[in-house]
Amino acid sequence: MRYISFILGQLARNSRHGWASQVMTLFTVSLSVLIFSFFFLIYTNMQKASSRLGNELRLIVYLEQEVPAAFRQEFKKKITDFDRVEKIAFISKEEAFARLTRQLGQESDVLEDLDPSFLPYSVEIFPSNNLKSLARIKDFSDYLGSLPGAVKVQYGQEWIERFGYFISLLRIIVLLSGALLILTSVFMVSYTIRLTLESRQEELEILRFLGATDRYIRGPVMVEGFLLGLFGAFSGLLSLFFLFQWIKNHFSGPVFMNLFELSFLPLANIGTIFLISLLLCSSGSLISIRKYLKV
């Protein structure tokens, strides 16, 4: 208890001497946490969206003519020979027309003068793979296109490819912002602690003569780094939460946001970010102690 009160007293004393550099460091750590967690938040949401889209992904093979019932099993086997699928559905011209009517809703009257059999026969294939295996889906699509009677294969190829590339780009940005978080936290905290130690050189020397233990001298310095990490992570994540709320309130709408059900970082991720920030800032503190504080 006495040790804790001593540490708090020492921290208050250090803050009075070097509050400007401590505030700057806190700001930098918070900003780094915010940048990293912001991209991480987008990345996790995109991953979720990707997984959702993956589950809903279907490849439609348009056929020249309907596959007779006797050959359907063989046709299915040809498909499953290439890859595992969740479901295969044969769509007749009538069913396709009925679907289109349903999709058009109130505007379905545009179809009134059209022949209900103007749409082609098709087969819907729901693969068990998701978007992570984009190359595999492309191969699958090529394979389906080579099946006898297949005219065209459709699965929103261009859109899915772009989405895949965007996720890859996000992954790189998350890694880069993670590196930024590491560099700024470790170096800024290390630098601030160094300034603190330099401003206390005279005092530290006297403390050594008085027999101050390693724990007595190093304790407050370690705690300072730890607290910078804690408050840095807290303010960074709090800012992210407000930013998230703002985005949700201002960008949610029938087109854009309904595609992605935006959600905040799960508790486990928040805890991990806290832990990483604490570890990085404590490491920065430790580096300075090892380098500049010979007890």
């Binding site: 006297i206 003569f209 027999g211 233990t213």
Partner: protein, 237 residues
């Protein structure tokens, strides 16, 4: 009648055996000095400036190491002390430095309390002890004054108060009255005498004859780094 004599070696708190200290290039500050200081003994280390008094005290408080020879404290070779053992040993030695070594921006109270804080003493106990010391040394009204605002004599007394704060078993005082007037000198010596009576071992390096002439304690004289003589003084002088 004579004062204390050198203690038998088995009761010595400090045992200095043929200690030599040279500074580059070849300045010999101490030359094969041997001295035993008993538990609870008070001795005066005398000699002119440059005789080696400060060097000897620096060796005893681990600020420097001897070039040759052995120093034992409580039968432990102090050259082998390091880390936690050294820190603990330092906590048991109160040192009043000739250059005071005070924190200039901190108050008198904070400077004295620091010696007790490193031992995690109870804040109430620290306050009580600091107030007591300041009263003893005539500095009660300076308690919240930063030490940079004090006169040299006052700074010296703060340094002495800090050395005595923990009631350590050993106090080393380097010219403790060098900047003091007779009244302040008397306060300081009264404090030392009281601590000595309570069993503290005290070594005072001084060239101020006034403080040891009337003393009944052992006086060790250093001259050009050599231990010249051990003078025994009459009690009733």
């Amino acid at each position: 009648m004579t004062s204390d004599t050198a203690p038998p070696i088995d009761t010595a708190l400090i045992d200095i055996v043929k200690v030599t200290k040279t500074y580059p290039p070849d300045i010999m500050a101490l030359d094969e000095v041997s001295l035993a200081v008993g538990h609870g003994e008070m001795i005066f280390l005398t000699g002119v400036s440059g005789a080696g008094k400060t060097t000897l005290l620096k060796l005893l408080c681990f600020l420097e190491s001897p070039t040759m020879g052995l120093i034992e404290m409580d039968k432990k070779d102090i050259s082998k002390l390091s880390g936690h053992a050294l820190q603990k040993m330092r906590q048991h030695i109160g040192v009043a430095y000739q250059d005071f070594r005070l924190l200039s921006k901190q108050t008198v109270y904070q400077n004295i309390a620091l010696a007790m804080e490193v031992r995690y003493e109870n804040p109430k106990k620290i306050k009580q002890r600091v107030l007591e010391l300041l009263a003893n040394l005539g500095l009660a009204d300076k308690i919240h004054t930063p030490t940079s605002k004090l006169s040299r004599g006052e700074q010296q007394r703060v340094s002495i108060a800090r050395a005595c704060a923990n009631k350590p078993p050993l106090i080393l005082a380097d010219e403790p009255t060098g900047n003091l007037d007779p009244a302040a000198t008397s306060l300081v010596m009264d404090l030392f005498n009281r601590l000595h009576e309570e069993g503290t071992t005290i070594i005072i390096a001084t060239h101020d004859q006034a403080i040891w002439q009337k003393s009944s304690h052992r006086i060790v004289n250093l001259e050009n780094g050599k231990l010249q003589e051990i003078i025994k003084v009459n009690f009733d002088l």
